[in-house]
């Protein structure tokens, strides 16, 4: 601090104008990791990382500059950034930097005990760290060059057997540990396809050597398992190529102990150009950009977000106003990445955008004009509140949930009657603004006759525990756990155990024919289970990524699941639902795609996602409040016009994103402006296409523009990508051309012999929520010379407007 001030002052003296100098960034926050220290053996130790955050939203690793000491020097001692034990007891580690100081509680136990090396805890991590057990090497399904290890060590018992018992005497040598083949190969002293992986004096080598020298003992069955891994810091904004940040990784074990595993975790970066990570856990900044750095240990992968910005920059944050927490959190990210958000969109654009997104319609010209005239400073908030209360708002979300719940007929298996009842049931829930957690609970716990309780159709659409569990994870948690059906998830934390234990919640569903033979009755069969394909063990139901609940025999497992699934105890539910809603209003999720949440697909703005989720659960899952928070934010109301800094932004919400209007809504607005509705099977004439009950009901327009058939729960069912067929259909197809001439308001104007300018403006207002610009009007008026041609010209202009990108994109 003092130093910075001094530099500024000196510069002020030497330069003619001090204002030429950007003010040196001030220290605004200091973060110390980890928050507490547990040392549980003589050789245990813990590293500390100190991160400084500055007023220009950058961070620095200030560990080396920070002062570290221990309160009671008899209990523990500090050496550079390490704390090591001396005697059992409690004390504090004192860290100070930049005038701030922190006391981290330190607990020391078993300080005189040196624990024996464990195969699971100490040796398997060596295999992972030295990449012996990756898929390309000995971790391949059939091993490599005659030696197999389990992929990333998921089967430590098997690995122990293969190292010590398979081909006895070959792989390890208890008498002469250094002559053990695994060490000779790893150290490259004998020919090894994988080359030299570690030095003889490395910790990796010495650990394995010591374990062999100690008799290569088998672990007791009580060996503590890793139950979680923590990474610190979770975010860094590094300025300038070559700047570094040290990571600290800590594993927690089932016996309550923990270990600093910073030097034993395997590190991966998804963008080594922006940030590389050395195998000791040091991040090194490269070219400007964003990277996600992951550390793998045992079955766990954890990640940290790293932003790298150039050190030559001269960025001035414009102090953009903030409407609510959404803006604050979006701006925090934009500040870090040196992006200036676009300005606010004008009133006309806002009204059109909000109408299309919230109610799936275009605003009437009078509505737009009155809104522009309105001087109320809160008018945008009020419009959002008003639109959310409209029945059409529910229609949009019923449609989206009908996609997630796959409401579609299936010949004789799923009748239209069932689809209709299911759809109507959903609609009633949205109409009464039932909290989302209650809707989900009603679906998951549904029992009874599907004709009486339409929610039970959740178990009629899909019948197998396998599909039901996969879909439940994908719809309500945004997770694709399918991989783990056949193998531990390669890019995420899910193991086959997790997969089959989650599936077990759906193992006791009974079904029988209803009184009406077309319906089904869903009930709790009170018995049945799911067996793990490896070992054939009957799996106890376990929440994904959480605990094994207490379930009494015969108790409805789904009721237990529902209580967890749609609750704050489930860390993913609220965030996922908030993300689905967010993606609707921005065309991109914070996690994208919305149903592929995994560690290696991180959110672009984790703080924003967390806060949206937290507020959503705090509001008791009030859906309308969530939508209001998003739509009232300044972020939602930004103009879709780039500035120099955000031209390439596609993920950070620094401007309005232009999106082609989705199929159903586009057809509805064409029908709205032409006043020529379609008739869809199963719903009355005049119903909009967002109200279509059955995923299989469609027409050429809807199919070509990418409507979901609801064939799967995947978000990829809906497509808004352009293609040639769409252009051809808008130009020549029956939808636009057939409906144009039916517009009664245009016929009236023609009959009344209205002035060309008025007719043109009416078309513009109805379709584009604005009048023609002077330039447009001047050019279009050239087509009005021969009064006999007026009528054709009106229709042609109407056609041209319906074929303009401004019409079929939301902007």
């Amino acid at each position: 601090m003092t130093m910075n001030k001094l530099i500024v002052t000196l510069c002020g003296l030497t330069l003619a104008s001090a204002s030429l100098m950007a003010e040196a960034p001030k220290l605004v926050d200091v973060r110390v990791y980890p928050a507490d220290i547990h040392l549980s053996s003589k050789i245990d130790k813990q590293s500390i990382v100190v991160q400084g955050w500055y007023s220009d939203s950058t961070s620095k690793d200030v560990t080396a500059q920070a002062k570290l000491s221990v309160g009671d020097a008899k209990i523990a001692k500090s050496d550079s950034n390490w704390i090591t034990p001396l005697k059992d007891g409690k004390t504090v580690a004192k860290v100070s930097f930049g005038g701030r100081s922190f006391d981290l509680p330190v607990t020391v136990t078993n300080s005189s005990v040196t624990p024996a090396l464990s195969f699971y805890q100490d040796i398997v991590p060596v295999f992972t760290k030295a990449s012996c057990n990756t898929g390309g090497c000995h971790g391949a399904a059939s091993g490599k060059d005659g030696f197999m290890l389990s992929l990333f060590g998921y089967d430590p018992d098997g690995d122990y057997h293969r190292v010590t018992r398979e081909q006895v005497g070959r792989r390890i040598n208890l008498a002469l540990p250094d002559d053990s083949l695994i060490l000779e190969k790893g150290a490259g002293r004998v020919t090894h396809t994988g080359g030299k992986l570690f030095d003889q004096d490395s910790k990796l080598y010495q650990t394995v050597r010591a374990w062999i020298a100690d008799g290569a003992k088998k672990d007791p069955s009580t060996v503590a398992k890793v139950i979680g891994v923590e990474i610190y810091p979770v975010q860094a904004v590094l300025k300038g190529k070559g700047s570094t940040q040290k990571l600290t990784i800590r594993a927690k074990y089932s016996d309550g102990t923990d270990r600093d595993i910073s030097d034993m975790a395997a590190y991966i970066t998804n963008n080594d150009l922006a940030a590389d990570v050395k195998q000791d856990g040091t991040l090194v900044a490269g070219e400007p950009g964003e990277a996600f750095v992951m550390a793998r240990y045992d079955a766990f992968t954890v990640g940290a977000q790293v932003l790298v910005i150039p050190d030559t920059e001269n960025f001035q944050w414009p102090n953009t106003p903030e409407n609510n927490f959404v803006d604050t959190l979006v701006h925090n990210k934009l500040k870090k990445i040196r992006v200036t958000p676009s300005g606010l969109c004008d009133d006309k654009t806002f009204v059109r955008r909000a109408y299309i997104d919230i109610v799936g319609q275009l605003p009437k010209p009078d509505v737009v004009k009155a809104f522009v005239e309105n001087k109320d400073a809160k008018k945008r908030d009020k419009l959002v509140d008003e639109l959310i209360e409209r029945p059409e708002f529910n229609d949009i979300w019923v449609m989206k949930f009908a996609e997630l719940l796959q409401i579609r007929t299936d010949n004789n298996r799923f009748l239209y009657k069932s689809a209709y009842q299911y759809f109507e049931w959903l609609k009633e829930r949205f109409q009464e603004n039932m909290p989302l957690d209650d809707i989900v609970k009603k679906l998951i716990t549904a029992n009874g006759d599907t004709f009486v309780n339409p929610a039970a159709n959740f178990y009629k659409v899909e019948q197998t525990p396998l599909k039901l569990s996969e879909n439940t994870a994908q719809i309500f948690m945004g997770m694709r756990i399918q991989c783990a059906q056949c193998h531990n998830h390669p890019f995420d934390r899910w193991t086959m155990d997790d997969y089959y234990a989650f599936q077990a919640f759906f193992a006791q569903i009974g079904r029988k024919r209803g009184v009406d033979t077309r319906s089904s009755v869903v009930y709790n069969r009170r018995s049945g289970g799911v067996r793990h394909p490896v070992g054939n063990k009957d799996m106890k139901p376990k929440f994904l990524g959480a605990e094994v609940p207490e379930i009494k025999s015969g108790e409805d497992r789904r009721a237990i699941l529902a209580e967890w699934l749609a609750s704050p105890r489930n860390p993913w539910f609220a965030k996922n639902m908030a993300n689905v809603v967010w993606a609707h209003f921005f065309g991109k999720g914070i996690v994208e795609p919305v149903d592929d949440v995994r560690i290696s697909n991180p959110p672009s703005n984790p703080e924003l996602l967390a806060e949206l989720g937290k507020r959503f659960s705090d509001s008791k899952y009030n859906f309308r409040e969530l939508v209001a928070n998003i739509c009232k934010s300044r972020t939602y109301q930004l103009a879709a016009v780039s500035n120099e800094s955000n031209q390439l932004d596609t993920r950070n919400f620094s401007k309005g994103y232009i999106r082609r209007i989705r199929a159903e809504v586009l057809l509805d607005v064409i029908n709205q402006v032409t006043d020529a509705p379609d008739k869809f099977s199963g719903i009355p004439l005049g119903s909009r296409s967002v109200e279509i009950v059955d995923g299989r009901t469609s027409n050429y327009f809807l199919t070509t523009f990418g409507r979901s058939t609801r064939g799967s729960v995947c978000s990829c069912e809906v497509s808004i990508d352009p293609n040639l067929s769409q252009a051809l259909h808008l130009l020549n197809g029956s939808t636009v051309n057939g409906k144009l001439s039916r517009a009664p308001w245009l016929q009236d104007l023609i009959k009344k012999k209205a002035q060309p300018e008025d007719v043109v403006n009416e078309i513009y207002w109805r379709c584009l929520s604005r009048s023609a610009t002077d330039r447009e009007m001047a050019k279009l008026k050239e087509f009005f010379t021969d009064p006999k041609e007026y009528t054709n010209s009106y229709y042609d202009i109407f056609w041209a407007v319906l074929n303009s990108k401004e019409f079929f994109f939301n902007h």
């Binding site: 150009l273 290696s600 697909n601 020549n732 447009e776 202009i797 303009s804």
Partner: protein, 437 residues
């Protein structure tokens, strides 16, 4: 037997990993890439001289058994040989018994019997053969057709890349912008009601009136186009341009009208899916389409391979032989490259359900025209059809050779999202001159 989920297009090797990369993409920051990369991107790559003016890619989805088609193992033990007999080709080789007509034109084509890769799952094998690149978790590669659309653009008012009848896995634009996507007909030329929709102006609108409409549209569109750039907007613009050229050219439109062919020609190809799709493909390349992908049949024959081949192969045989003969007679064969590919071959041994399972280690592809040797067999598989025996032919070799023949340098780098340059063919590029005439 195959597992349904693994075969499903939803199996997440597939969904666009573009998204994954985007979080790491530099572009998102509004900051520019390092200079080193920019230099790389602007390097110049010499364009090879094109021998093939157009490509017809016949894709046999599911994984076509090489043993029952191009590479019968007639002297192997019966469990390897399989249920089908053979027919001697004009060049003295042997094809499957249901390839009688193709055997008769074997002097016009090259068969590669040593195609090899390591991806035994449909979606990964398809990615290999449709894009010429190994699937990556970070990036979805563009189909070869989309690369052609990107590099060479439309010709004679026709879309550069057409799919008959519907878009399939990995036939899309991958990391390239949506503007380079295929035009898929959405309708099967074998169906009696076949029509490519919306090519004709609506009734009551003549060319003059349409021109007027176009003028008006450009006036209305100009305002918005001036405001913002986005990939979807550019894509839509380019599709509008394509649509305009297509609509305003009667010749271009006629290319899609299979009824303009005589019934004699139509029945010579076969009045079935294989025949009419290949005939339409010929019409399209004749009219100017650069790259036509057509799919035919379901070749994932895990069970009852004898019956399945009986049902599927004869109409392919008739259509393919007719296509090659027809192109040759029209003098088009030397500048039209005809590819017959599939994601992989099938297991050497017949399985318990009298079928064969996935086998990528060796299988066959056929190439004809466009500068490929006539009457040539390249490489061979071992006696049980399990491994390449001579001249293994890799995916990178396949793609490099095809791109070279079309006049595209496979080492050229294209911009992927975030401006990171990607070679068109990322594997070890190796033009195979042996198969060239």
């Amino acid at each position: 037997m195959s597992n349904n989920w693994c075969n499903s297009p939803d199996h997440p090797w597939n969904p666009s990993r573009r998204e994954f990369l985007q979080v790491g993409a530099l572009g998102a920051l509004g900051l520019s890439l390092g200079d080193a990369l920019k230099l790389q991107a602007s390097e110049s790559f010499p364009t090879p001289k094109a021998k093939a003016q157009s490509v017809i890619q016949i894709y046999l989805p599911g994984g076509c058994a090489h043993q029952e088609t191009w590479d019968p193992k007639f002297d192997a033990p019966v469990e390897y040989r399989g249920p089908l007999g053979t027919v001697k080709t004009k060049t003295g080789e042997y094809f499957s018994q249901y390839m009688r007509r193709t055997a008769a034109i074997a002097d016009k084509i090259t068969v590669i019997r040593s195609m090899t890769h390591g991806e035994a799952a449909h979606e990964r094998g398809t990615h290999n053969m449709m894009t010429g690149n190994r699937p990556s978790p970070a990036l979805e590669y563009p189909s070869m057709g989309s690369v052609v659309a990107h590099e060479q653009g439309p010709r004679k008012n026709l879309p550069p890349y057409v799919i008959i009848p519907n878009q399939t896995r990995n036939s899309g634009t991958g990391y390239l912008g949506s503007a380079y996507g295929p035009f898929s007909l959405g309708s099967d030329p074998a169906s009696s009601s076949f029509q490519v929709r919306d090519l004709k102006l609506p009734s009551g609108i003549d060319d003059k009136r349409f021109d007027k409409r176009r003028n008006m549209r450009s006036i209305v569109d100009a305002h918005f186009s001036g405001l913002e750039k986005a990939d979807a907007l550019d894509g839509m613009d380019s599709f509008y341009q394509r649509a305009y050229s297509l609509i305003s050219s009667p010749e271009a439109r006629a290319a899609f009208d299979i009824k303009k062919e005589s019934s004699k020609i139509r029945s010579a190809y076969g009045m079935n899916q294989a025949g009419q799709r290949m005939l339409l493909a010929r019409r399209l390349v004749e009219a100017g389409v650069r790259y036509v992908t057509l799919t035919y049949g379901g070749w994932d024959m895990h069970g009852g391979i004898q019956r399945a081949m009986e049902r599927t192969l004869p109409s392919f045989d008739q259509a393919y032989a007719q296509l090659i003969t027809d192109l040759d007679q029209r003098g088009m064969l030397d500048n039209t490259l005809v590819l017959v590919t599939s994601e992989f071959g099938r297991t050497p041994k017949i399985n318990r359900t009298a079928g064969r399972d996935h086998w990528p280690k060796v299988f066959s592809v056929a190439m004809a025209g466009g500068g490929v040797k006539r009457g040539y067999i390249h490489g061979s598989s071992d006696p049980t059809g399990a491994e390449p025996e001579e001249k293994p032919f890799t995916v990178a070799q396949y793609a490099s050779t095809v791109f070279n023949m079309i006049g595209i340098n496979p080492e050229k780098r294209l911009d992927s999202p975030g401006g990171r340059p990607q070679a068109i063919v990322t594997g070890e590029p190796a033009l195979n001159n042996e198969i060239l005439a």
